[in-house]
Symmetry: C2
Subunit: 465 residues, 2 copies
């Protein structure tokens, strides 16, 4: 159903076929911002979904973002700020007066409010909190006291909880008339007078129950309450394992303090996958909207680590400088041995890191998997030994050089397989994140082994000392 | 709440603190399998959640898996098969008689049934389908006709749909008494007599509505029905964007054919992230349970591509063999220039590939991001030019060599930045998956540029020809 208004902008979709914000829509809004034309903005922007507004903000050039937020005034849906990059969020929030932030935050669900508040500095945060009503202030403060990236930070403190002796009918009446209810919900919690969690009931179960039935007779014991201190990644794994839509979050006394919902968990899953990918690629927690200086800084460390490992590998080459001087073909061929090892090691490491992250690799199959990887390394080592050996013979017309590079290839591909699986396993065992350091360590192993095996073998075989 | 039975196995949790299946539990079950002791298995295994049973199956050695399934007989919850690796699923299903599969599949929600059926060969699939009741057979056949990895394959064909003129009260009565209802649900769909989708109502809305209200007065128009042919990844993006719990799946005539639920979408999100990570690491669609031969095969192609690019880079070195012979230090230092370029290129490429996958990178910011990456490459190039230049001077006591490697470093780090962003953008523009081919292309660029810049500059500067 596509309704087109007089400006030619379709109501149905603001995205083009690639999922980017449509350029005609962007131009239209951009022009309206330049003219400070509130009527166009009210017609097109106010009705947007929070995530659409977020995408629009990201697509606009920085100065227009701020003007748009100013033009929207009270009609600016702060939830959109949870949908944009951190850098853009900070840029917008920094420009908004604290009382406008306080007014906007008062409208939000607590999880969204915390998401925005947690990045602000202490002073601004306190000023904003002080302008909120008492109960809300207390709730938000409590959520902000939980550690970063914990379930307590991501939970929503609005939920429906009823005593066990209520009937289904009473519960439904309460849901019809109650104030301060969450906007949407999929389950009702059952608590005792001290707020201790007794169980929960999914809405479909309430709908199917008799009105006079007691809540306690249809409730299900919550088998997996989430401690508020639990890391969000661990909480996400529980959601995945038991296909939950929402879960009770409890404090250390098993009292219900909030509810974690699947939409936040989906964000967590995306963030964690993102983190793994970036760590494997040697980049930290950077975003596309970061500026040049902070990007240079975040990448510098990794490159510095790599420089050290590269120098280490080169110092092995240096040991064999006499051999290279006598036989330059060695300098030509040695990067091939190192590079093949690096790639084979990266393959094994990628599979290992991912299997550790998803819990597919554990003590029961670790030995089997190590044996499999070693066999794969040996097989591929033999295959590429033959191929590369033949190429070397054709290239340099030296049969013996083919044998030397072949043997070096086998040694390095087995080393790559073992390094690729044992290093992440070791890092994991000692509580480190295997995604971060593995690739540097693995290529160090394959570079050093590659140069050492090839140059060492050649020196010995051709008696180049 | 931990209840320990006489065998010392806690009812509360079968996992140890690392999330692996507890070894005492595993030993207990393993022993019971060896003794064919049905009573222990009934007490401990039948009550497990499907995902726990899946983890147990994965932790057991292959022969015991099959025995366990046989011992469980009709009590084997086939849903567990959707929770294990494909190789293990095939191994178990292959051993089960078709009529047992048919009986088990009849109990499943249609999405789970399709998940298991789609991997079987045509003959087995037809035999199993023929043993199912008519309506179910038709439903499953229809779902199986949609393309692989489409929303139609992942949808559940059990849903609740009511006509618009019903009252809320009638709808609730229908949910209380109706047969053939889905096990759990979070929304009710509204359809016209030809099954055309009119809208949907979330359960919390039904609960808050007056019993005599008409369904059409409280329903929400479904703004994002999912076409059954839509790729599951695209469907997942819609779920993420609009924070959906479930969504109507419609055929080409906008008729309701099923419902896609968030738990399946979470699996899709995980699969897609997995795919990206593996592609970047140069591995295909392999699983930990694959055997040696299929793993060797799947990794061979990537290594062969890498061999060709490595040979290409080495042939550049070969051009400068005379220079290396005169100045062996060049052979020692050249891998450092290439390796730094490779790492810097991988950093940029990782950020780019991820930003393309999440839709953060598009035509509006591409130019800005390319400029940023080039600047970052230049900055880091200058920093590492100074550092590595100094190291080279100290190492080889040759000031001019320091200058040469410094300049080569700057050139290669800028090339790395440009290659790291332009190659994935180009692949994306031409409809290829940037995660697959990028890393091979990017390191080819940085290896070749690194050797060419360093060796070429050195040859010219020191007049080594």
């Amino acid at each position: 159903m596509t309704m087109t208004d007089e400006d030619g902008i379709s109501d149905a979709d603001i995205y083009d076929e690639h999922g980017a914000v449509r350029s005609d829509f962007l131009t239209e809004i951009s022009d309206a911002i330049d003219r400070s034309d509130r009527s166009v903005i009210e017609r097109h922007v106010v009705r947007l979904h929070e995530s659409e507004l977020g995408d629009l903000l990201e697509a606009l050039p920085p100065p227009e973002r701020l003007t748009l937020v100013r033009l929207l005034g009270d009609e600016f849906d702060m939830t959109a700020l949870t949908q944009v990059d951190e850098a853009i969020r900070m840029e917008i929030v920094d420009q908004m007066p604290n009382d406008q932030i306080a007014a906007g935050i008062g409208e939000l669900d607590s999880d969204d409010a915390v998401y925005i508040l947690e990045d602000l500095d202490q002073e601004d945060r306190d000023e904003i909190l002080s302008q909120l009503p008492f109960t809300e202030r207390v709730r938000l403060r409590r959520a902000l006291e939980y550690p970063e990236q914990s379930a307590g930070r991501r939970m929503q403190t609005e939920f429906i909880a009823v005593p066990p002796f209520w009937t289904v009918g009473q519960t439904i009446d309460y849901m019809r008339e109650g104030e301060q209810l969450p906007e949407t919900f999929t389950q009702v919690f059952v608590i005792d007078p001290s707020f201790k969690l007794l169980g929960s009931i999914d809405l479909d179960r309430i709908l199917r129950a008799q009105l006079e039935a007691k809540v306690e007779s249809i409730m299900r014991e919550t088998s997996h309450p989430i401690p508020a201190e639990m890391d969000q990644e661990e909480a996400a794994q529980i959601f995945e394992q038991y296909d939950l839509l929402s879960a009770a979050v409890v404090d250390e006394n098993q009292r219900l303090v909030g509810v974690l919902t699947i939409d936040d968990v989906v964000d967590v899953i995306q963030e964690e996958a993102d983190e793994d990918i970036k760590h494997l690629g040697g980049v930290g927690d950077e975003e596309l909207s970061d500026n040049v200086i902070s990007t240079v800084r975040s990448r510098f460390v990794w490159l510095a680590v790599n420089l050290m490992t590269a120098i280490l590998a080169s110092s092995i080459i240096d040991v064999f400088d006499g051999a290279i001087e006598k036989m330059v073909a060695l300098a030509v061929l040695m990067p091939i041995v190192a590079s093949m090892g690096g790639n084979a090691g990266t393959q094994t490491m990628t599979v290992t890191v991912r299997a550790l992250a998803t819990g597919d690799l554990d003590i029961y199959n670790a030995f089997r998997v190590v044996r499999r990887e070693a066999s794969v390394g040996l097989f591929n080592g033999i295959l590429f030994a033959v191929i590369m050996g033949a190429i070397a013979v054709l290239w340099f017309h030296d049969f013996q050089l083919g044998i030397v590079i072949g043997v070096a290839m086998i040694i390095n591909l087995v080393a790559a397989a073992l390094g690729g699986i044992l290093l992440p396993l070791l890092l994991h065992r000692f509580g480190a994140d295997p995604a971060i350091a593995s690739s540097a360590f693995v290529t160090t192993v394959t570079d050093c082994t590659g140069y050492l095996a090839f140059l060492g073998l050649a020196t010995w075989w051709f008696a180049l000392r």
